[in-house]
Amino acid sequence: MAEISSTLPDGPTIKGRLSQDDIIMRFGMVMIAVYLVATMVLPMWTMLSKSFSTYHFDLAGYELQVSDDDGAFDGTILTPAALNTELGVVEPDDLTAGSDSRMGLTQFFPDFSFRSPVMYRVRNTSDTGRFLVGSELKTGTDWLELDSNTFRRVQMRPVKSTGLGNFVNYFSTPALFNSIKNSLFIAVISTVITVSLAFWFAYGLNRSCMRYKGFFRLVAMAPILVPSLLPGIALVYLFGNQGMLKELLFGASIYGPIGIVIGSVFFTFPHAFIIISTALAISDARLYEAAVSLRSTPWRTFWTVTIPGARYGLISAAFVVFNLVITDFGLPKVIGGQFNVLAVDIYKQVIGQQNFEMGAVVSVVLVVPAILAFAIDRMVQSKQVALLSARSVPYQPAPNRKTDNIFLVYSIAVATFILGILVICQYAALIKFWPYDLSFSLRNYEFDRMDGGGWGSYFNSIQLAFLTAIIGTCVIFFGAYLVEKSNGFKTGRALFQMFAMLPMAIPGMVLGLAYIFFFNNPDNPLNFVYGTMAILVICTVTHFYTVSHLTAVTALKQMDREFESVAASLKQPTLKLFRRVTVPVCMPAILDISIYLFVNAMTTVSAVVFLYSPTTTLASIAVLNMDDAGDIAPAAAMGMMIFYTNAGARIIHLILTRKLLGRTQAWRAR
């Protein structure tokens, strides 16, 4: 046999011609990628560049002439800079500005009077200079002659430059950068508590033979159905200034870290529970049999088998909880008091002080730990997959009266905590006027009498939730299908995967702020969606894109890789295969995605708090605003409305899933 060289010969490389299907699929993928770029990458980029934009007043950028009392000019040219050196009316620090700042010129003339006959001339020294006369913007270097009364209304506009100024400013303001410490503190404490609580709860449910497991599992999931700020309201009723159990705090205030931590434990509990429970469920019984046959003590088995087996789950849960707490806005807003955290700082800077640049800086600061936590979690989760083996034997717990009872008591305690919070909220919503008039009434449900948009915001939320669920599921599932099942186009697909993973790392507040910067810019052709329901839907879909995308990809990976090949060999369009086979087979995952999006659209606060308009107020925002306005009972009432709506949606989802499975998944039964 002659030797064959093992390098490719010269000559043309075969370039495949694209079939119609390939073209359609690539086009679809490009469309969804463009969507992700427009709704995430570009806004985030805008925000990043905003955080590096600094504004200051350039006193040397203007020239002035002052006439005598007869209106005659002697040709002397003054600059505000020179005048300020002389008079010292403005400190150098005061020259730092925001994008909307303005500064009058009359302060440089101590003897200015708007009634005097003196005339003024003013001009920019460069073409980029700008000043306002009233509300009219003047550019250019031509002299403008004004009487005293008009000159009073002349205001300088700041000059934009790029630099680290905002960050320097941020880190030299203790009131601001202390929030980093506060946020980290809260997140770490909450993480430790939640993960410990959730671990033993999941352990009890997976590894003991205690009773009522189904009930406890259900209760553990309940916090997912409410906005994160709802536990804050319950805590106010329990431990607030007029709280029922105020004495239990021994004088400490619930408004602050204590409140935030308790509330965070409540709303992050289900997330930690799901992850840890999954990790414990996949443990291999053979390892325990080996431990028993080696006469290991239960304590030793726990540390050498159970914990190592669940360690990825524990680490993953810890990072997820950390991320949720550090990026959460609603809860610290409601119960944080004077205790500043990063997410609330963004809100305060933007809504309170209209300092968008500083808001952007805080956002960048917040993104760093969020992305770190996200990246570590992804790394850990990819290892968790490798732990699964097809030959593992599921662990079957054996009844043990003593431990079963301990776990039952423990689970009751946890369930009491979760249900207690919800019951308190419902109770608060139903009584007339805490703590003076404890009779029941539905007055707190008359939302139209309160701030926050009334019942309209509730129906807006429902609309948002449906639109998000429907549009989001279509876009996300189709996008996942395209990226998972199309041929070639490797770079494009890798890029798409990256885009799809990004939203998870971006805190809601940051996304919302980025949307303001991006969509509120009049030069943006997409500006028209600003202030509409559309931007809320877009924002919510993007915000919750990643988890949905991963669910879809997991389901699609379980489909035979060769379905598409078979369809192509039979000359049938891929989209027909998609419609007839892929969608029906993946229906459970599709329904999961839609309920996930629905529930989150109902409860989300952080991203949309910057984006709602008077016509698109939302229930979750109404809770926030009513609480802010002191209408805590109606806030609780609205919060519980969200809870019941989500619970209802879950039940409908369950029924629908059962029915659909019964009809379209008959093939699953052998």
Partner: protein
């Protein structure tokens, strides 16, 4: 120069083809095909012609590139270089949907949520056939694969063998010119596999469809194929009829991969001579030249036992000492049902052990037992010489 060109049968069709069709243009023609995955070259300069109606097997160990070649033919993973021509048309760069083939995968890839009937009908829809035509064709196909009464079941309700037949029915539903089978039987248990072998072969003969099957199972290839393409490390080692690749393997790899083969290090002599240990043997003609290190090879069943070392032929008791005969000791015997596998040792063979399969009759007649001496013959037309393997 590759083995393909060496082999005069490359251009020949299947065993039952006549002279006239032999000269016809091949139905499927692959020329100078290369496939690279990054730096790794999976297929090196593959050229192959397949005649219309032929059943060809790509046989080789896993990772030899046989599935890659099949997928290149289907257009599922395009080759890096080289051309493929089907029915006179250059299809090298066409997407799968523009090619003319049906395919069956190891996993069957049946659509789990569609009934058997709908699975088979999948490719018949939107092809200008009326509903009743589609139905008639589906019934016809179900009958063809012998599953007439299973049409309204779902794939998961059928056995593996049944599912494979449905996958086959779906692949041939549109009467493609080329049928590709990617390890179609590997997921089945042994008994079903043997039965389905015959069924598929018979079906192929009945339909006359040109078929390419990928397999790593030599028995499957030998029993089903008109011609076998033996592949290794991305090159074709040999193309030939099943009997040919078995009896006249072109390379040591083919000799070793198909069937059992004794391999004994040796030194080549003149053509037709080889020196094994201290013994000079007569073997098949070769062109290695004197003094080259080679491997002498013989199949265990080709070793002839002679008892006391003397053979009598005819009635007149003429005693002849055969060529290539020498004395050995039976070191070990293993009973394998229809024959005995014997491990033979000999000083003349230096350290190598020789494996020989003797019929039960021969063992009884020669009263063979362990540690007994006997004379064996290595028939000169069965003793082959190869260049040593690469690794």
């Amino acid at each position: 120069m590759s083995a393909v060109a060496d082999n005069p049968n490359t251009l020949l069709g299947g065993a039952d083809l006549t002279e006239a069709t032999t000269e016809a243009r091949p139905y499927l023609s692959i020329e100078g095909l290369w496939k690279a995955f990054g730096d790794f070259i999976a297929l090196k300069d593959i050229s192959l012609d397949i005649q219309e109606g032929e059943f060809v097997c790509f046989l080789g160990p896993s990772g030899c590139g046989k599935t890659t070649l099949l997928r290149a033919i289907a257009g599922l993973d395009l080759q890096t270089k080289g051309t493929t021509t089907q029915a006179g048309k250059d299809i090298s760069s066409l997407p799968p949907s523009s090619r003319d083939f049906g395919i069956v995968f190891q996993s069957y890839a049946l659509f789990p949520n569609l009934t058997i009937k709908k699975n088979i009908a999948f490719g018949l829809e939107n092809t200008g056939r009326s509903k009743s035509e589609v139905e008639a064709r589906v019934s016809e196909l179900l009958e063809l694969v012998g599953l007439t009464d299973q049409g309204s079941k779902y794939p998961a309700q059928l056995s593996g063998g049944q599912q494979q037949r449905i996958a086959l029915a779906r692949a041939i539903a549109t009467s493609p010119g080329l049928l590709l089978l990617d390890e179609p039987l590997s997921a089945l248990d042994a008994r079903v596999r043997v039965r389905l072998r015959h069924e598929i072969k018979e079906l192929q003969r009945k339909l006359g469809v040109t078929t390419v099957m990928v397999t790593h199972d030599q028995e499957e290839a030998l029993s089903m194929a008109d011609r076998i393409v033996v592949m290794n490390h991305g090159v074709i080692e040999q193309v030939g009829y099943p009997t040919e690749v078995y009896r006249d393997p072109a390379t040591l790899f083919v000799a070793d991969f198909i069937g059992e083969m004794n391999q004994i290090p040796a030194i080549s002599g003149l053509s037709g001579q080889v020196q094994i240990g201290a013994a000079d043997m007569i073997c098949r003609p070769h062109d290695f030249g004197e003094g080259t290190s080679v491997v002498a090879a013989i199949r265990p069943e080709d070793v002839i036992p002679h008892g006391d070392g003397i053979r009598t032929t005819g009635a007149d008791d003429v005693i002849i000492t055969p060529e290539n005969a020498f004395e050995v000791t039976v070191d070990e015997m293993e009973f394998l049902g229809s024959f005995w596998r014997c491990c033979l040792g000999s000083e003349r063979f230096s350290n190598s052990e020789l494996i020989a399969d003797f019929s039960i009759n021969a063992v009884r007649r020669l009263e063979l037992a362990e540690n007994k001496k006997l004379t064996i013959e290595l028939p000169k037309d069965r003793l082959m010489v190869f260049a040593p393997g690469v690794g």
